[in-house]
């Protein structure tokens, strides 16, 4: 299927006359459907460039707030002491590039397009000295990486010939639901030649979605059902065992 898509894309590129876009890209799917058997998935991003340049892909999940807490030792016991809240925290973050970022992306560009976890615009909600803020920020990123929601490694965008490129984006089992954006940048001589942002959704479907919706819409009924099922299971096991 992927080969067919690439082929179709190649035709599209070839058929487009002179005023061609310098960059087109698309995802193998715009929806990640979380079903009962879901244990993570992989999307393919593919595209074509017009002329020379390198490609950077930035995947960002829905933004929200997160509070970071720091433990300190008090009377021999580790206790949460300090807290710093951040806004603008993407629930999920991945980047991929066709070359090592340091080789062709200037810092100003990385800041503008938030390329790399160090350049995420996380907004601390309280004034602290820069050393402290940096420590809390690093703590946030480290925790996100431990949950596999951020990835310190830059993924690889590989070129097939001079114009066609592709990359795989991995989504773990705990991928947060919501609206995602996939930003593709074509960079040459330290300048963004073209950019394209593609939306993507992560959503529960089928049984899991029904359970989730029911639990929120009819929470009292859901709670009673959970208890009834448990009691019935316990009773049934006892009844079977008595024979």
């Amino acid at each position: 299927m992927i080969r067919a898509l690439l082929l179709a894309l190649a035709f599209l590129v070839a058929a487009t006359p002179a005023r061609a876009q310098p960059l087109i890209a698309d995802l193998s799917s715009h929806l990640i459907a979380i079903t009962t058997g879901f244990s993570g998935t992989e999307l393919l991003l593919f595209g074509a460039t017009e002329g020379e340049g390198d490609v950077v892909v930035v995947v960002r999940g829905p933004e929200g707030e997160a509070s970071v807490r720091r433990k300190a030792r008090v009377a021999g016991i580790w206790i949460n002491r300090d807290e710093l809240r951040f806004a603008g925290v993407p629930a999920f973050y991945r980047i991929a590039s066709s070359k090592p970022l340091a080789d062709f992306v200037p810092t100003a560009l990385r800041q503008r397009h938030q390329i790399g976890v160090d350049f995420l615009r996380l907004q601390p909600q309280r004034e602290l000295n820069s050393e402290e803020t940096a420590a809390f920020r690093a703590g946030l990123v480290r925790n996100k990486e431990a949950q596999k929601l951020y990835e310190p490694e830059v993924g690889r965008v590989s070129f097939l010939g001079p114009r066609l490129f592709r990359t795989r984006i991995l989504f773990p089992a705990n991928v947060p639901t919501g609206n995602y954006s996939v930003e593709v940048l074509l960079i040459r001589n330290g300048q963004v030649l073209a950019a394209q942002t593609t939306p993507m959704f992560v959503s529960k479907v089928g049984f899991g979605a029904d359970v989730y919706d029911f639990a929120h819409a009819w929470s009292a009924v859901y709670g009673l059902l959970a208890i009834l099922l448990a009691v019935a299971a316990g009773w049934a096991a006892g009844a079977i065992f008595r024979k």
């Binding site: 997160a66 720091r70 709670g223 299971a233 316990g234 006892g238």
Partner: protein, 312 residues
């Protein structure tokens, strides 16, 4: 690595289904054997597997409903369930757990709920475990059996004496009410059924015989954990029915096996085993409090955010 990954809709992550059934079975066996709900084992195990703590605690309570129902029914059939005593404990328990819900809210807003929970675990499990171990080892020594039976410490001097023919004791009605209340407060705070506290309290404070203690405590746990399940489902939507079903599937098969095994084993030896298990968990948690955590920073996403699935 995963044999059969199953996506858990409320926990919002996937965990191996076979592993979950296995955990349910292991905890169910202990539940039937000792008359503890197993919540204090299931919740940490689920957190370890990557289930969010709030979902782990609430779903743990749901599985405790099943294992305690299975155990309580088995004991009731065998005549080792003191319903009269159970109802008094329950009345206190419901009042206590309702009160503790408020306290839980205050502590989690302060960011100290984890600490309070861990500290309560260590102090309570540690002292209860040590007490039980000392007492039951003494009881196992030859010639010491009679002397080992504890006095009805709090029941003896209180008014409203009542007889409990099923357990063969006579004590004040206030005693089980107070014990139920105290255990109920801790249950709401710690998100567990409270069996590990109730069983020793009944043995040492009410002087109940070990035979009726297990069934009666399961009876009380059944209702308290049901109450917790309902409250959590309504206020936080943290009960994951898929996760609960897998754990329960393992648990309901193993719990009656545990109950039968328990009936065959020597009561004093059973108490030593329970004491060792309780002490083990206390030591494990205590080490966790004192040792420097792998990362002293932790994150918590906002609870105030709207339901995530509003957009298609």
């Amino acid at each position: 690595m995963d044999i059969l990954p199953v996506y858990l809709p409320m926990a919002e992550t996937a965990v191996d289904g076979v592993l979950l059934v296995g955990i349910g079975g292991g905890v169910g066996l202990l539940s039937g054997l000792f008359g503890v709900g197993g919540g204090f084992l299931i919740t940490p195990l689920l957190i370890f597997l990557g289930v969010p703590p709030a979902v782990a605690a609430a779903t743990g309570a749901n599985t405790v409903v099943a294992s305690s129902a299975a155990g309580a029914i088995a004991h009731w059939r065998r005549g080792t369930l003191d319903v009269k005593m159970g109802l008094l404990l329950l009345a206190g328990g419901i009042a206590g757990s309702a009160a503790s819900v408020k306290l839980f809210g205050i502590l989690s807003a302060m960011g100290q709920i984890d600490l309070v929970v861990a500290l309560s675990y260590v102090l309570l499990l540690g002292s209860v475990g040590a007490m039980m171990l000392a007492e039951s080892v003494r009881a196992m020594l030859p010639g010491a059996r009679r002397a080992a039976v504890a006095r009805a410490a709090i029941g003896a001097d209180l008014p409203w004496r009542m007889s409990f023919p099923r357990s063969g004791i006579e004590t004040s009605a206030l005693a089980p009410l107070l014990i139920g209340l105290a255990v109920g407060v801790l249950t709401g705070l710690m998100g567990v059924g409270g069996g590990f506290l109730l069983v020793p309290a009944m043995i040492y404070l009410l002087a109940m015989p070990t035979t009726t203690v297990v069934g009666t405590s399961l009876f009380q746990i059944l209702f308290v954990s049901g109450n917790v399940t309902f409250l959590q489902a309504v206020s936080h939507q943290t009960v994951d029915i898929v996760l609960a079903a897998l754990l329960i599937a393992g648990g309901v098969v193993a719990a009656p096996v545990g109950a039968r095994l328990g009936a065959k084993l020597d009561a004093a030896r059973l108490r030593v085993l329970l004491a060792l298990m309780v002490l083990g968990v206390a030591i494990g948690l205590g080490v966790g409090l004192v040792r420097q955590p792998a990362d002293i920073y932790s994150i918590r996403l906002d609870l105030g955010e709207p339901a995530k699935d509003e957009t298609p």
